[in-house]
Subunit: 342 residues, 2 copies
C-alpha cells in the first residue's frame, strides 16, 4: 500500500512529528512580568548563542515585528512557529534552521520554545533535535529548574519536562467510519489528547488530527515519546486497516469518490481554503492507496503553500477572499499536475 | 463567442436539425391492418428502389430483427431511427446513408418515414434531403395522397404534409434563468412545441430541448420550415444573450461551475448516464464560451457513443448498470482529453 513516494516513516498516515520544549532563563523575569528590556535580552543572548555556534550559519533570524501579518501567518501555516508567538509579535522572534527542522522561538509565553519538526512518524529523532538545542543553550545559560519539579514555566501546565510532543495524522478512513470518538476516548486514558489540526471541536478540516501528551509532570521525556509513538503507530495501523476495508467493500466507489476531488482541484477556478482541505484529504488518501502516484511530502507542502497567509506572501500583496480563491485555484491547476506521475 | 470549432450553423446552441416525412404506398394496406406479407413487400420494394438507385451504394440495409436490443437502442441514440421503429422490430428495417444524413425507415406506424438529419441549424437543407428521397421513391411508386387532404397517414395527426421537422437545442443558460416556461408558451402560439429531448415533462436531461411543428395540415412544408427556423434562430439569440449575461454577472463563478464538470468527467471512475448528461451540458456550455477549446460536434458524438445502448455495442456484451458506469467513466477519461485542445 505504501508506494514508491512515501519518503518518511508512516507518512501515508502521519504528516509530521513535532516536539517543543519550554524553557526560561533563570536570571530573567518570566514573560508575565517581563519588561521590554528583558524581552530584548532574551532575544539578544539566544541569537548570539545560536548564530555564534558551530551550526549558526544554518539559522535565519526573524523578528516578527519586521513581517507583514500574512508573512507571520505563513510561518504558522508551515508549522515553523506557534500561533501563540503571534500574540507577542512586537517583541518576539524566531531562529529557523534552513532545513526547517529546528526553530527557536523567543518571547512567547515562556522565554524560549525549542522546536524539532520532521516529516512522518519519527518522534525520537524529532525530540533529539529539540534536546540538542536545549543542551547547546544550557551550556551557556542556566534555565529555571527545580530539582523537585523540573523545568519551571509560566503556565503550571508545562512544568516538569516542559515538553509537548505531537504527531499530526491524516485519518480519513477512521473519520468516515465514525471511529474517531472511541479513539479519542482510548488515547485519553494514556494521557494523550487528539484534536483537529485546524479548528477546535468537531471541525476537523482535511481529516487532520494532532495527538499530543497532556502531562509534563511525573513522566520522563523518553516515557512520553514512547507512549505517543506507540499510540500513533497503533492508530496508523487502524487507519490502514480501515482504508483496506473501504477498498475491499467497494474499490471502484472509493476510487471514484477520491479521484473526483482530484478532478475538482485540477479544474476549479475558485477554490476556498476549506474546500481545498476536503479535496486534499481525498487526494492524499488516493495517493496513499496508489490510485494516483504522487509524492505525499510534495502534496502536503503544496497545500501549506496555498493556505491564506502563504498564498498572500507568494502574491506579494493583500488578497481579498475572492482573489485568494482565484489564485489558489490557479496555482493548484499549475502545480498539481507536476506532482502526479501518470 | 462562436469559436474556431463551431462547424455547423448555430452549433453553439443547436445540436442538429431533423426532418421526417411520413409516407404510405397507395397500393398496400396501412400498418394498422398490414399482414406480414405486405410488411415484407414494403421493405422489399423500398430497398430495391433505394439500393438500385444512383446513390444506392451509399446506403446500408439494416433489419431490426437481426440486431440485439442494444444495437437497436444505439441507432435511436444516434438519432438514426425513431424510437417507434423499435415497436415493430420483428418486421421493420432501415436504410441508412453512410454519411448518416438520410434514413429510410420501413414498417413503422406508416410504411415509410424518410428522415434527413444535419448538424446545427440547417432545416432547409435537411428538408431537401428528405424531400429528395421522397421524390426518388415517388417516381417508382405512388404514395397515398388526397388532393384535398394531402398525404394520408395512419395517424390523423400527420395527414397533410406528413412532415415533422425539429431542431434539438442546448439551452443551459435559459434553463438556469428560468426562461423555458415563457419560451414554451410563446412558441406554442406559433404552432410549435418544445419538450425535453430525453424524458418528458420537467425532466430535461442535459438541458437539451427539441422544438417541432405541431400542424401538418393547412401549412406548406416551406411555411413550417420557415417558422421553425425563425423561432430557433430567435431562441438561439436569447440563449446567447443569457450566456453573455451570466458571464458578465460573474465570469469566474461561471467558469468555475462549468469547468468543474470537466474535472469530474476527466477523473470519475463511475459515471451514471444521467450525471454524464448534466456534466456534458456544462462542458458544452463551457466550450461554446471558449473556456475550453473543443469541437462541439465531436463532443456531441462522444456523448452519443456513451449512451447505454451504444456503450453496450462497443463493449460487445450486455452490461450491468455498474459495468456501464465503469466503462462510461473509462471511455470519458480516454477520449475527452483528445477532444480538448489546451
Amino acid at each position: 500500500m505504501s508506494g514508491e513516494f512515501v519518503e518518511a516513516p508512516h507518512q501515508d498516515v502521519v504528516l509530521f512529528s513535532r516536539v517543543r520544549l519550554n524553557r526560561n532563563y533563570e536570571d530573567l523575569p518570566f514573560s508575565g512580568k517581563i519588561t521590554r528590556e528583558y524581552a530584548d535580552e532574551v532575544v539578544r543572548r539566544t541569537a548570539d548563542a545560536v548564530l555564534g555556534s558551530e551550526q549558526g550559519h544554518a539559522y535565519a533570524m526573524i523578528k516578527l515585528a519586521d513581517l507583514s501579518e500574512d508573512a507571520r501567518s505563513s510561518l504558522v501555516e508551515h508549522h515553523l512557529i506557534s500561533y501563540d508567538l503571534l500574540r507577542f509579535a512586537q517583541r518576539s522572534a524566531a531562529l529557523i534552521s534552513t532545513g526547517k527542522t529546528v526553530t527557536v522561538m523567543m518571547g512567547e509565553e515562556d522565554h524560549l520554545r525549542l522546536q524539532g519538526l520532521l516529516p512522518g512518524l519519527q518522534l525520537e529523532r524529532t525530540a533529539e533535535l529539540a534536546l540538542s538545542m536545549d543542551e547547546m543553550l544550557s551550556e551557556k545559560y542556566a534555565f529555571a529548574f527545580d530539582s523537585q519539579w523540573g523545568f519551571l514555566t509560566s503556565s503550571p501546565a508545562n512544568v516538569g519536562t516542559g515538553m509537548r510532543a505531537c504527531v499530526v495524522m491524516h485519518l480519513p478512513a477512521l473519520t468516515a467510519a465514525g471511529q474517531m470518538g472511541p479513539i479519542m476516548q482510548a488515547v485519553a486514558k494514556l494521557g494523550l489528547t487528539v484534536r483537529g489540526l485546524y479548528g477546535e471541536g468537531s471541525e476537523t478540516l482535511g481529516n487532520l488530527y494532532q495527538m499530543s501528551n497532556q502531562a509534563t509532570l511525573g513522566r520522563s521525556e523518553e516515557d512520553v515519546i514512547r507512549s505517543l509513538l506507540a499510540a500513533a503507530g497503533q492508530i496508523a495501523g487502524h487507519e490502514r486497516a480501515q482504508r483496506e476495508q473501504a477498498e475491499k467493500q467497494d474499490m471502484m466507489k472509493l476510487q471514484d469518490t477520491l479521484l473526483r476531488s482530484m478532478g475538482e482541484m485540477m479544474y476549479a477556478r475558485l477554490m476556498p481554503v476549506n474546500e481545498m482541505m476536503r479535496r486534499y484529504s481525498d487526494v492524499r488518501y488516493a495517493a496513499s492507496m496508489g490510485y494516483v502516484h504522487a509524492s505525499l511530502a510534495e502534496l502536503d507542502n503544496l497545500i501549506r503553500e496555498l493556505q491564506p497567509g502563504s498564498l498572500a506572501v507568494s502574491a506579494g500583496k493583500l488578497l481579498s477572499s475572492r482573489e485568494g480563491e482565484i489564485l489558489r485555484a490557479k496555482l493548484l491547476r499549475e502545480k498539481l499536475p507536476g506532482l502526479v506521475a501518470n
